[in-house]
C-alpha cells in the first residue's frame, strides 16, 4: 500500500493540512478526519447524492473524489454553507415546507439546489426536478423539495426586484 501523502486545502474557510492515504475518498476525509459529519454517505458509488459537496465552486460527489485530488482546493460542506448564511433562506424554505423527513439526503439536496439557483435564477419546476434527479430522497416523494426550491427562487427574485 502506498504511504500517506500530505495535502493542504481550504475547508469552509479554514486552512487544513493532513496526512492521508491516497485511497481515502473525500467524503471519508471530511467525515472521519475533520469530523464534518454533515456530509453523508449513502451509497459510496456516486449514485445517491447524499455526499454532495462543493469543490472549487462546483458540486461533486465526495465519495467519487479522492482526498488527495482536493489538494489545494477550496472545499465547502453543509456546515460551511450553514455558518456563512448562504443557504439560510433555502433552509428556511425546506423547514416551512417540511421538505425533509429523516434529513439524511438533505445536506446533499441543499448543495444541489443551491447550485441550481446560482446558475438559474428562475428555474421552471421541471428544471428543478431535473437538476435534483441525481439526489435520492426516500422519504418525501420530492414534491415538497421542489416546492421549497421554487419558493426560494421566487423569494430571491423578489429580493432583487
Amino acid at each position: 500500500m502506498t504511504g500517506p501523502v500530505t495535502i493542504s486545502l481550504d475547508v469552509n474557510g479554514e486552512r487544513v493540512e493532513a496526512q492521508v492515504l491516497p485511497r481515502l475518498n473525500l467524503a471519508d476525509f471530511l467525515r472521519e478526519h475533520l469530523k464534518l459529519t454533515g456530509t453523508h454517505v449513502g451509497c459510496e458509488h456516486g449514485v445517491c447524492g447524499a455526499c454532495t459537496v462543493r469543490v472549487a465552486g462546483e458540486i461533486v460527489r465526495s465519495c467519487l473524489m479522492l482526498a488527495v485530488q482536493a489538494n489545494g482546493a477550496v472545499v465547502e460542506t453543509i456546515e460551511g454553507l450553514s455558518d456563512s448564511g448562504e443557504v439560510a433562506d433555502l433552509q428556511a424554505a425546506f423547514r416551512d415546507r417540511n421538505a425533509l423527513q429523516c434529513g439524511f439526503c438533505t445536506p446533499g439536496m441543499l448543495m444541489a439546489a443551491q447550485d441550481l439557483l446560482r446558475e438559474n435564477r428562475k428555474p421552471a419546476r421541471e428544471e428543478i426536478r431535473e437538476h435534483l434527479s441525481g439526489n435520492y430522497c426516500r422519504c418525501t416523494g420530492y414534491q415538497a423539495i421542489i416546492d421549497a426550491v421554487e419558493n426560494t427562487a421566487r423569494a430571491r427574485m423578489e429580493l432583487k426586484a
Binding site: 450553514s82 417540511n98 423527513q101 429523516c102 426516500r138 418525501t140 416523494g141
Partner: protein, 797 residues
Amino acid sequence: MSSIRVNPETLSVLDRPNSYIGKTVPRPNLERLLQGRATYVSDMELPRMAHVVFLRSPYAHAKILKIDATAAKQMPGVVAIVTGKELSAVITPWVGVLSHLKGLKSAPQSALAIDRVCWQGEAVAAIVATSRATAEDAAEHVAVEYEELEAVTDMRTALDPGTPVIHASLGDNLAFERIHDAGAVDKAFAEADAVVEADFIFGRHTGVTLEPRSVVADWNAAETRLTIYQGTQAPHMVQNIAALHLGLRESQVRVVCKDVGGSFGIKVHIYADEMATYALSKLLRRPVKFVADRVESFNTDIHARDHRCKGKIGVKRDGTITAFEIDDLTGIGPYSMYPRTSAIEANQVVNLVGGPYTSKNYRARARVVFQNKNVMCQYRAVGHPIACSVTEGLVDLAAMKIGMDPVEIRRRNLIKDDAYPCGSPSGLRFEQLSHHASLSKIVEMMDYQALRAEQVTLRKKGIHRGIGIASFIEVTNPSAAFYGVGGAKISSQDGVAVRLDAQGSVICQTSITEQGQGSESLTAQIVGSVLGVSMDRVRVVLGDTDMTPYGGGTWASRGAGIGGEAALQATKILRKNILDVAAVILQSTPADLDIANNAVVNVSDGAPRIELNELARIVYFRPDTLPPGTRPELMATKHFVPREYPFAFTNGVQAAWVEVDTDTGFVKLLKHWVVEDCGTIINPQLVDEQIRGGVVQGLGAALFEKCIYDERGQLTNANMADYLVPMSGEMPDIDVGHVVSPTRESELGAKGAGEAGTAGAAAAVSNAVNDALQPFGAIITEIPLTPQVILTALGRI
C-alpha cells in the same frame, strides 16, 4: 378564538385556545438536520471503538467446510476475526415464530452462519479492526472453503417433492399456510353473470433507506452493561431481544436511538449482523461499530412483497360483486425473520382482500415458502399493496367485463358510510370508514369526467392515457393483537411522561420514536395544546430505553394514534396538577383557572394570574411558602393502548393519470391524487407529506423496483445504479385530500397515516396502465411495469 371559557374541563383539546392540533407548524427538530448537525449512528465515534466488517457468503446455499483466518489475523490493526461457532459462546440462536400464526415454523438462526449458509450475503465471519478500511483489507485474506449446495429459488417449485428441503428438521419448505372460507363462495360464483380470473405478480423489492443499517454496541465490562446505539423504530424491542440472547437482564441493556436516516419498516427487525455486533462488543469488551455498505444493504436488509396471487371475482350485470377468491404464494428466504416473523405479509393479504366492499363471500389460501434468497419481512404497508392491487385489479377487470365505469362499480359495492360499525368476511372490524365520501371527493378533485373526455380526444391522436382508481383500507394503531398475543415481547402500548421544569418549560419523554415522520412535532403539538404552553417551551425526548417510558415505538402507523393519546392523557394530569397548586398560590379554585400562553389565567376573563415560570420557582425553590400539606406533583405519566378494536382501520382512495408510450413501453406519471381518512389530523402538512412519501414508495414498486435474482440465487442488481428507485425527474405532483372520521377509542381521535400512500399507489397505476391499453386488448397484472413487461403484453417483443 375567544380566550373566555365557561368551563374548560368540558372542552376537548381540539378546541382549546391557541391549540396546535390541526395546524401546520414546522417540526422542532429540523434545524439540526438542515445544518448537517444531526447525529446518525453512522456519525458516531466512541473511545477505543473498533469497526466490524462481515465476510459474506457468495453462494445462495453452501456448506462451510473451513474458515482460515491465520493470515488475516496477523495484519496490523486487526482486533479479532470471529466465526459463527466462536460467537455462539456469547449469543444464542433464535427462531422467528409467533404462536397466533398457527403452524408457522422456522429453523434456528445464528448471528453468524455455522456450518452452512442459506442465502447469498449471509455473514460467515466477523472481521474486527481499528478502522473499517483495515477490516475490509483483512476480510480479503480470510479464506473460506465452501461446498455449494442446490439452491431453492423459485417459490412456485419450492414445495415440489423433487425440490431440496432447506431445513431438514422442518420436513418441508412450507413455513406457513392459512386457509379462509366465508359465506357461500361457490354459490356466489355460480350466481354471478361473469367471473374473471387473473394471476397477479409482484416483484421482490426492498426499502433502500438512505442511511444504511448502523449500530454501535458498547459493552462496559465494569458496569456489566451494554449500550446499543442503533437507528431502530423499536428500542424496547431491541433491548428485550439483545438481553434475551446475550444472557443479560433487560436492565443491563440500554438502547439509544438518535437520528435515523430512513426506516420504512426496514429498521424494525432484528438482523443477524446487528446481533453479531452486540455479541462482539461483549466478547471483545470494547465498542464495536457496524455500518452496512450499500451492497450489503441490498443483500441483507429485509426484502418484501414477492407474491404471486391468483385472484377471482364474480360480478352481476348490475355491478354487484358476488365473491372474491385468492390463492397467494410468497417466498420469504431461508428463515422467518425475528421477532415479527415473515408470515405477517401473507396473513395481511388474506385479511385485506375485498376489504372495502360489501360482498360477504370470500375464500382465500396463502402459502409462505422458504427459499435460498435474502430474508423477507414487513416493509411499509405490509401486505396492503398486494391486497389492494389484487382487489382493485379484479374490480376493474369485472367492470371491464360488464362494461361498467370503474367509479360506478365502486359506488355500487363499497361499504356505505352509514353502515358502521361492521365487519369484513375475513373477520376484520371497522369502527367508521368513509369510502363513499372519499370516492366522491377524489372524483371531484381530479375532475374525472373532464379527464375521461381528454382521454378520448387524445386517443384519436395516438396518445394513450389511462385513469386508475384504487380504494383501500389500512391497518393502523395496532393493539396487542398484532404481536403480543403471539408471544412476542413487542409492546403495543406507549407511554409519555411530561413535567414542568423549574423555568416553566415542559420536558416530555415518549416511547414513540422519530425517523422523520414528525413524532417529535406531533407530541409537542399535543402537549403544548393540552397544557396551554407554546411549542417552543416543549422539549421532546425520545429514543432511549433509559430515559423514556416503556413502549412499542414507531411502526404500523401507530405513533400519532397511540403515542399521541398517551401524550394527551399525561398532559391532562399535569395540567390538573398545575392548576391545583396554582389555586393554592392564588387562593382561588382550580375550576376558576386555566393555562394559556405559558401562564395561569382566569377562566372568567382570561386575565393572566401567574406565569408558569413563577409557579415553578415557588414549587421547586420555595415550597416552604406553600401551606402545610401542599405537595405539588409537576410530573405526570400515562400509557395508552387501544382495547376495543384490535386495529383502527383507515380508508382512502387513490387515482393515477398516466400516459403509456406503446412504442417504448415507458409509463409517464402525469398526476396522482389521494383522499384518505386518518381521523383527527394533528398536523396537516405532516400528514400530507407522509401520504406523498408513501405514494412515491408505492410508485417505485409499480414501475421500477425489483430485486432480480438469477436461478442460482444470486442477486444481480445489488447496487443503486442497477436497482432503480423513484427520482425527482419521474415523479408526479400528488394532490392530497382528506375526510375526517376520528376514532372514538381515544380522546385524540387520530388514526395512522404513514402507510396509506404505499398501500394503494401501485394498484392505481396498474389500473391506469390497463385503462390506457384497453384499445390494444392488453391486460397486465404484474409489477413493476417495466418497458419489457409492457412491450411483451403489447406483443411488441
